[in-house]
Symmetry: C2
Amino acid sequence: MAAKPKLAIVAGGGELPRLLIAACRAEARPFFVVALSGHADPDLVTAETPHMWARLGAGGAILKRLREEATGEVVLAGRVKRPSLLSLMPDAWTARFLLSLGRRALGDNALLSAIGAAIEREGGRLVGPETVLPDLLAPEGAIGRIAPGEADWVDIERGLVVARALGAVDVGQAVVVQQGIVLGVEAVEGTDALLRRCKELRRDGPGGVLVKTAKPGQERRIDLPTIGVRTVEMAAAAGLAGIAVEAGGALIVGSAAVADAADRAGLFAVGVARPPAAAGRP
Amino acid sequence: MAAKPKLAIVAGGGELPRLLIAACRAEARPFFVVALSGHADPDLVTAETPHMWARLGAGGAILKRLREEATGEVVLAGRVKRPSLLSLMPDAWTARFLLSLGRRALGDNALLSAIGAAIEREGGRLVGPETVLPDLLAPEGAIGRIAPGEADWVDIERGLVVARALGAVDVGQAVVVQQGIVLGVEAVEGTDALLRRCKELRRDGPGGVLVKTAKPGQERRIDLPTIGVRTVEMAAAAGLAGIAVEAGGALIVGSAAVADAADRAGLFAVGVARPPAAAGRP
C-alpha cells in the first residue's frame, strides 16, 4: 500500500482537529496544521507540532504555505464562526477570491464549495475528515443502549422535514422538536446556543429531540453536522429525550464516548437513514 | 348599511385586542371578549367590558358562551404561547377536537385551520382583525421616512427566501439577516427573543434586517405576522438597519406610531410585495 500523502489540517475549534492530529501521529503520517486564530483551541499545537497560525482572511498566505509544505491532501475540520466581511481583513488573494464569488457568497454552501475548489487548485486534494478517521461517520441505528420511543420518532420525522427545508435554503443544520412543536431552529448561533435556548422553551411533559442533518447538496467534505460528548451533555441539560443525526451525513466525534455519555444521561442517540416518504414535504 | 354583527374578540397578549375593543366602542358595535388567561393582558378587560376569562383548553366552554352571546363574527387576536398537551388541560370538547386532528395537529397551520373551522361551525363567522381595523394590513412601500439601501435589499431578499422556506414547513414567520448571513430564525420563542439573541450574534459592520412574512397557505384570518412600536424599538436595540414585512400579509399595530418610532430610531420599515423571482427557491 502506498504511503498516504502529507495531510494539511486546517483547524477551527472543538475536538476534531486534535483527533486528526492524533490519527496522523498514530500512523506516522506526515501532516501540517493551519491553526485558525480566534477559532482553533490555543492548546491545539505545541512547538513539536508542524504548524502555522493564520487568520481566516489570510487565504493567500495559507495556500502559499501549503504549496511549500507540499501537502497532498487537505482537510478542513472544527468550528469556524463565520465572520463579517469587515472583520475578515482579507489579504489580496482572499479579496480576489471573494470578489470572484460576488453574490454567490451569500450562502454557506456556495462559499464552502468555492473554498473547496480553490484548495484543490492550489493546496492539494480536499478530503473529508472521515477519510482519516473512518468511524467518524454516523452509523444507522442506535448509538448507545437507549432507543427512541414512538413519540420520539414523530418528533424525529418532523425535525428531519424542517432541517431539510432549512438546509435547502442553506441555513443551519439543527432543529429541536418536542411533541411536534419546533422549539428552536439553528442559524449562526450554533448548536450549543440552540440547546441553551431550548432549555427555557421546553414545554411541560416528556420528549424533545435534537435533529441534525447535512444540507441537501452541501459540500460534504466540509462542515458536515457534528455531535460529540458535549452535545449529549447539553441536550441532557436542556431536558431532551435524545439526539438524531443523518446516518452517513453527520460526524460523531468519539463515538464510544458519545455512546457512554448518552447511556449515562439516559438519552438516545440514533442515526437515521433518511426522512420517511410520508414526511417528504419540501 | 346594515349594522355589523356582534363581534367575539378571542384575546391573547399584546396591544391588538385592546385596539379591537376600542374600535368596537368607537362605532358602538356590540362585542364580547374571551380573554385567554395566561395570555391576555390582565388589564385588558374591566367590569364594564362584556367578557369572560377562559383557559386555552376550555374550547367547549368558550364556544358554548359564544352561542349564548349570539356573536355573528369571531376574531382571534394577540399573542398566544403554544402550550404542550399536558399543560393545556383540555375540556371534553377540546379533547375530542384534538383527537379528531391526530397527527395533523403537529404544525400550526393545520391546528389553526381546524380551530377556524370549529369556530365557524359553532361560534360565528371567523374574520381577520383587519376587517375591524382596515389600516392594520401592511401597505407596500416605506412606512416612515427611511428607505432601505441597496445592501439592505439583498438582505431583505435573502430573508424572504428563508422565511418562505420555513413557512412552507409550518415553522416561524421571522428571520434576521445581515450581510447575507442569516443571524437567526424564529421558532416558538417569538420575535422579541429572536431580536434579543441577534443583538449578540450581529457581525461587525453595517446592516441587518428583520423579515416577517405569512406562511404560504396559512389560515390568513388568524395569526398573520405582526409588528408594532415595540418591534421597532427592539430591532433598533439589536442594532438592525430595518424591518421588512410582506405587504398585505402582515399586520402593523399602530402604523402612525410605528412610522414615528422608525423615524426616531433611524430604521427603515418597509412593506414588500413578494419575493423577486430570482430569489424564488423553495
